[in-house]
């Protein structure tokens, strides 16, 4: 029993890190500009395909392809911001929700036409490591490490670089920031781009150990919502912890009841937290 518990814990934690940076992409945008990016899921899926084609088509090693994917994600995000979001950034919330959802529909529609919905796999076998009774695949371990690295990178970026400080300024009070000369439109675009970058990177990581289709992103988007509420908006560290909590839930709950009950728990928890503590268990950046 103890062995099983440890095994589940480790599995859950490793996966939780990846969930964490997936969620970070969503919560960063949400926290900074109060926009819920409903295309988050499809961007994760695009990240998956990006790494897949770079590896299978061009022979670039997945972890290097990840860097390229990150750059592509950033650029794509900035484009999406200026096309779909900028005009409605100050409009009622329904507008931004629908605007980002329309981008989602476009990505899914074109993606299905190009990639079809046949599942893909990245044939990456790096072997596994044994920790006592637990066998851990290297791909998952590396993914977790990279996730932590990205989270730390984001945290440092926000805290110590100039663009990072601009982002925090705009989050606090957009008008005041504009008055002191912060180019808010560009800052918002950068933030959106960072959010999509995170989504794409998390997708690329997930693709190294799970099969996927263009529709796979939806599950991770829903998880990102849950994590966002758990961890607090605009708070990258909170998202990471939220991701770990979710990963733990997914790893441990099945030990006590049929695995198919896990989503019920996740979503009930989600609604409860929304009702009780919408700013998350760790508090958001206000």
């Amino acid at each position: 029993m103890m062995d099983a518990l440890i095994r589940s814990l480790i599995d859950g934690l490793l996966l939780g890190f990846v969930y964490g940076i997936a969620a970070m992409g969503l919560t960063l945008i949400w926290g900074v500009m109060n926009v819920i990016n409903l295309s988050h899921g499809s961007l994760i899926a695009l990240g998956m395909f990006s790494v897949y084609y770079l590896f299978v088509g061009l022979g670039i090693h997945p972890y290097i392809a990840l860097v390229l994917t990150a750059v592509l994600g950033l650029i794509f995000g900035v484009i999406i911001y200026f096309i779909a979001v900028h005009r409605v950034i100050n409009a009622p919330e329904l507008s931004t929700l629908l605007a980002t959802y329309s981008v989602n529909m476009m990505i899914l529609g074109i993606g299905t036409a190009i990639f079809t919905t046949t599942p893909r796999n990245i044939p990456l076998d790096l072997g596994s490591i044994q920790f006592g009774e637990t066998v851990v695949t290297m791909t998952r371990l590396i993914a977790a490490v990279i996730s932590v690295g990205v989270a730390v990178g984001l945290f440092l970026f926000l805290k110590y670089t100039r663009p990072g400080r601009y982002i925090r300024a705009v989050t606090d009070n957009r008008d005041a920031a504009e008055i002191v000369g912060v180019p808010s439109a560009q800052v918002l675009a950068l933030t959106f781009g960072l959010g999509t970058l995170l989504a794409a990177v998390s997708g690329g990581l997930i693709a190294t150990f799970f099969p996927f289709t263009i529709l796979s992103g939806e599950t991770y988007e829903l998880k990102s919502f849950v994590i966002g509420v758990l961890g607090g908006l605009g708070n990258p560290v909170g998202s990471l912890f939220g991701g770990l909590i979710l990963g733990l839930i997914e790893g441990l709950v099945p030990m006590a009841m049929p695995t198919t009950w896990t989503p019920v728990l996740e979503f009930v928890l989600f609604v409860l937290i929304l009702l009780v503590a919408p700013n998350g268990l760790f508090g958001g950046e206000e």
Partner: protein
């Protein structure tokens, strides 16, 4: 100014679509639905002698050109297309009154999705005026399609659909070609018992689909009757990609043998993850995935995995065995089928391909027996059918579970290494085996 431009573009887009939608009312201008065909497989409509009456029967079906059933469904429709091509090339079926019957296929992509299947079959029936229907691939989709077929009183040949429950719903015109789900894993239990009578603990993990649920329910009963201790019996939702927690649970339960799975996608992922996590089990039997040649892509993860199959190329059904069993033989031999399939598609057929082909074959026999394409007469012919084909024995239940397949049986394959390459061998039943089973599973 730019705003007006965007609005204009939007209106033009919408107007264009409305006009196109109006165009849909006249059948000629609507884009032709993609008739099933592969690149090497154009069914040429041979113009027969003007004196004989020629009718064209429309066969309607959906295939999963995209989505998770893509692998199996493509093989199934390739098999069916091969039959259509062959029958048309032969000049069609000649009925006793001189009428020549040719076939035309109309199909759509169901995207492996349940909500499209019903709309598409309704369309096949009401718009494309299909005379006979073939099911989609998978019990789940077939279950939805069968309702529509039965509502409109059409005959449907269900291939790629094993679930018994479809045939307990009171349908009268749906006919099953596969061995029912309840027989899928019973042989796997027998095989395990013959290999190692000391194994007592088995785990069943299965996809929450109509098909696999039916399989494991029957298998669990059977295993318990044979004295096994079912230490784990749990389902996973369709589309699951992460089996980590399941594998942990299996390890925790102490199971020595694992059976179950679902379809190709989840089955192969499960096999791979079991291998990656080095789960210490001795026997692994999965549904649908192992008999598919693409299962070999898993490499060493595929070694030793057992799978039930509806048909293998080495199956020894022949006119002689038919005579010995007192049955009528119909259709080509396995060897002929494999040769024709390889020539058309440049790859080996698996049991899904054979299932698709035999659907057409059975329809052909029924029309020939009925001497007409009248649905009532064809139904009567199907009810009476009792034949042996390259696929096996075909006979339908006509009483409490109308349409259920009661003649056909499963065989079991296992992946083994021959000269360093992965090959599929038939390991059970002993009479049809091509190699001795590999046991236990190696890691």
């Amino acid at each position: 100014m730019r705003r007006k431009l965007y609005i204009l573009i939007g209106i033009l887009l919408v107007a264009g679509m409305v006009l196109a939608a109006c165009g849909k009312a006249t059948p000629t201008s609507a884009p032709a639905p993609k008739a099933s065909e592969s690149s090497q497989n154009n069914a040429p409509a041979k113009t027969s002698a003007p004196s004989a009456k020629e009718i064209t029967v429309t066969i309607g079906f959906t295939q999963s050109k995209t989505g998770k059933y893509n692998e199996e469904s493509t093989r199934q429709s390739d098999g069916l297309d091969l039959w259509i091509k062959q029958i048309n090339d032969q000049g069609g079926i000649k009925l006793s009154d001189g009428t020549v019957v040719k076939f035309k296929a109309v199909s759509y992509d169901d995207e492996s999705s349940g909500d499209k299947v019903q709309q598409l079959y309704t369309r096949l029936i009401t718009k494309d005026k299909a005379d006979f229907l073939i099911s989609p691939y998978s019990s789940g989709l077939t279950s939805s399609a069968a309702i529509i077929s039965e509502q409109y009183g059409k005959i449907m040949l269900a291939t790629g659909a094993a679930s018994d429950s479809i045939f307990k719903k009171g349908y009268e015109r749906v006919y099953q070609l596969y061995t029912p789900a309840s027989h899928y894993l019973t042989g796997a239990v027998d095989l395990l018992q013959s290999l190692d009578p000391n194994v007592k603990k088995v785990a069943f993990i299965y996809e929450n689909s109509k098909f696999s649920t039916a399989v494991v329910k029957a298998a669990k009963e059977y295993a318990e009757k044979k004295g096994y201790d079912v230490v784990m019996f749990e389902g996973y939702d369709k589309g699951t990609t992460d089996f980590g927690s399941f594998i942990n649970k299996i390890q925790d339960s102490g199971a020595e043998a694992v059976m179950g799975g679902g379809h190709f996608q989840d089955g192969s992922t499960l096999a791979r993850q079991i291998y990656e996590k080095k789960l210490p089990i001795k026997y692994l039997a999965l549904l649908v995935a192992p008999p598919d040649p693409s299962f070999a892509d898993l490499g060493d993860a595929a070694l030793g995995v057992v799978g039930p199959s509806q048909w293998e190329a080495s199956a020894n059904y022949s006119p002689e065995s038919a005579k010995a069993a007192g049955l009528t033989w119909f259709g080509p031999t396995s060897a002929d089928f494999v040769k024709a399939y390889k020539a058309a598609y440049n790859e080996d057929p698996d049991y899904h391909s054979a299932g698709g082909y035999v659907a057409g074959l059975v329809l052909q026999k029924a029309i020939m027996d009925a001497g007409s394409v009248d649905p009532a007469k064809v139904k009567a012919a199907l009810d009476k059918m009792d034949i042996l084909t390259f696929f096996g024995h075909i006979k339908f239940n006509t009483t409490d579970a109308h349409g259920l397949q009661i003649g056909h049986e499963m065989i079991y394959i296992q992946w083994q290494k021959k000269d360093g390459k992965l090959v599929k061998e038939v390991v059970w039943p002993k009479e049809g085996a091509t190699a001795a089973p590999l046991y236990p599973l190696k890691h």
